[in-house]
């Protein structure tokens, strides 16, 4: 039904120096440069008020940029009304039309795209099959569960083969289990159709699960644009480091030759490549900290004092004092935990592999 397009590097959408201000005093979006590649699943991730939804609404055509250009397929679209952009949008609360049946909802865009009669019926049936809602066509949206409504909204945004589908926190209203199932389902549909999706969420695990690339928004700016792994392993700055997953931020000093990092508390880490000397911040993930006796010979060891212990079944979470940090978070596997039995107030030696250290850009 839809033409499969491989994920490429060709830009489908380009934001060029786009700004947006509602009140003429503060900028909600500051000088945004962002490209969306054809066929990719790009997530705009950020806390509320970071400008991600405004960016999405400007792309959909509901908000006009204060300055700058938005190119769709190479042509500027800032002045084009939403209905002329050929972009499907899935809204947070689905925005299904309550006075129309599921079938009528899905068929709604078709008449505006020149598909009528049996051809429209066929497309609707096909899409209903794709979202596993065969036989639900005659129902009203209010007779469907949240997950089913979500799928209908998705089908409606896909049925007219738009260039691009935008999703504004579409899973926010679902419970955790359903949300995780829908994440996988949306990802499957996106892969099989090869459709380009720009997805907005404030849930970092959702972003990591679904995206080809993630643009982390904060304060009206893109802090980092990268794939999930890179974003997790090599956050560009302190905000990204702490927003994506849990992280320990460690104060340190880079030696004058730029090859060694001395952390507070004395541990020294050799850096893979030379960087500018001086005071820096480095990060280490809680799951990369482990008990010293289990670590490899290359691992860097340091003493720590346990402050608090939380047992969570498959793992335990310790809050320790060490590496010059008062609240160092450690995620310990259950097996290791049952052997060590660390108690609050006790001392132990922890360790990390040198690669686990990531120096944040200054």
């Amino acid at each position: 039904m839809l033409v499969k397009t491989p994920v490429g590097t060709e830009a489908l959408v380009a934001f060029e120096r786009v700004t947006k201000s509602y009140d003429g005093a503060t900028l909600v979006v500051k000088a945004l440069d962002l490209t969306v590649r054809r066929g990719e699943f790009l997530t705009l991730l950020g806390p509320s008020g970071s400008g991600k939804t405004t960016t999405l609404m400007m792309l959909a055509g509901f908000e006009r940029p204060t300055s700058g250009h938005i190119l769709l397929d190479g042509a500027p679209v800032e002045k084009l009304p939403p209905e002329k952009r050929n972009i499907g949008v899935v809204f947070q609360n689905y925005a299904l039309f309550p006075h129309m049946s599921v079938e009528e909802n899905i068929a709604f865009p078709l008449r505006y795209h020149g598909v009528t009669g049996p051809a429209a019926k066929e497309k609707v049936d096909k899409v209903l099959g794709m979202i596993h809602l065969e036989g639900f066509g005659g129902r009203r949206p209010t007779q469907l569960s949240g997950g089913q409504q979500q799928r209908v909204a998705l089908a409606r945004a896909l049925v007219f083969q738009p260039k691009l589908v935008l999703m504004d926190e579409p899973l926010g209203a679902l419970d955790k289990q359903l949300r995780e199932r829908m994440q996988v389902e949306i990802k499957h549909i996106q892969r099989s159709l090869g459709v380009t999706i720009v997805f907005v969420t404030h849930d970092q695990s959702e972003a990591l699960t679904m995206s080809d690339r993630i643009a982390v928004f904060s304060d009206g700016m893109v802090q980092q644009l990268a794939g999930p792994t890179e974003l997790y392993e090599r956050p560009a700055n302190r905000f990204v480091a702490q927003f994506i997953g849990e992280n320990n931020v460690l104060p340190g000093d880079v030696s004058t030759d730029g090859r060694a990092l001395r952390l507070a508390g004395g541990a020294v880490v050799l850096l893979p490549a030379a960087i500018a000397p001086g005071a820096v911040e480095a990060t280490v993930r809680p799951e990369r900290l482990q008990a010293a006796d289990r670590a490899s010979d290359r691992a860097i060891r340091f003493p720590a004092t346990v402050r608090e212990v939380f047992f969570l079944g498959d793992h335990a979470r310790l809050t320790c004092e060490g590496l010059g940090v008062a609240e160092l978070s450690v995620k310990m596997a259950a097996a290791e935990f049952s052997v060590l039995q660390p108690a609050a107030g006790s001392s132990l030696t922890l360790a990390f592999e040198p690669e686990a250290i990531h120096v944040l850009a200054r």
Partner: protein
Amino acid sequence: MSSLAEPAHRSLRAQTFRAALPDRLIALGLVLPALLFLVVTFIAPIGALLMKSVDNAEPAAVLVETLPAIGAWDGVGLPPEPVFAALAADLKAAQKNRTAAGLGKRLNYELPGMRSKILSAARAVSKIETPPAGGWTEAITGIDPVWKDTQTWSVLQRNASPVTAHYLLNSLDLTRGPDGAIAAVPESEAIFLTILGRTLFIAAVVTLGTLVLGYPLAYAAAIAPPAVAATLMLFVLLPLWTSLLVRTTAWVVLLQSNGVINDFMMRLGFTSEPVQLIFTRFGTLAAMIHIQLPFTVLPIYSVMRQIPQTQLRAARSLGAGPLSAFWRIYAPQTIPGVSAGCLITFILSLGYYLTPALVGGATDQMMSNFISDFINRDLNWGLASALGTVLLLTTLALYAVYVRVLGADRIRLG
């Protein structure tokens, strides 16, 4: 198994009922004062007034002996002597008790001129002390030729019943002919259907007017930021806090020949002499639309406020232009509010009295005005009640059609 389960099940039901009983009693207790108040001040008086439209107490109260006696009369020729004797006795009593006028007035509705005939007959009969030699037949027919007319007696016979359809028929421009068959009244006397039609028409125009003015207003308020919406709705509600009489009087000031509007138009040179605005249909409509506007706007506004704006956005993104999106997505969802608002305004407009009386044309009055006239001026409570009944039934019928077409759940106040 089931024989064991059955009593247990029943006792569970009894227990549930007993457990819920205090709550139900409390609920009943909460409703009771308002219910009693409504019964005493609203339902009972309306019921009593509706009864008046078929009430036929006067003939039975005055013609105590005549009516039983005339029951057996076959309607051919004059009734037999005992009927005349009974009438004489009744008229004597009526003269003594001063009830002849009431009877005369009542019979006058059906036989014009009967009021004076009854009064003169009662006076004449009272002067005859003993039964006359030629019998009461000769004596009474001698008073006035009307007593020789079979129609007079058949009207009397027809009114033996304590209820009459006369007023209701009359309020629909119908009457019983001499032979008792229902027929249209002569064209020169037919006024009530015209009045009913006029009342319905004015109510419909007012409803349409408030809708045309109110719908965009409600929409503007629904999509406006909360502070602006609150201000807009304040202006809509403001008139509701002012007395109806004050608002209507304000319209008199505006509309009169040397009033604000005429003054303004003459200064601007649109017209050289005052345009007749007050005491016209235009005056009635303008004032009524103004007064009814909040009633139409409020339900529409409250329904509109619940329609998420993202629905219009969704429609736009799916390819619909702004007008198409509004018409196909937004407008259909406002129908419950439009229904409720229009229904309230239409029904309230049907009963308008004060405003048409003060700013409307003398020959352009609505139903309520005539009801009031029949009660206050003509003391014809029967006809007034019958007109009220017709108005009530028309309203109920329209409501029934409405519910049937749209469904009761499609009417929502918010």
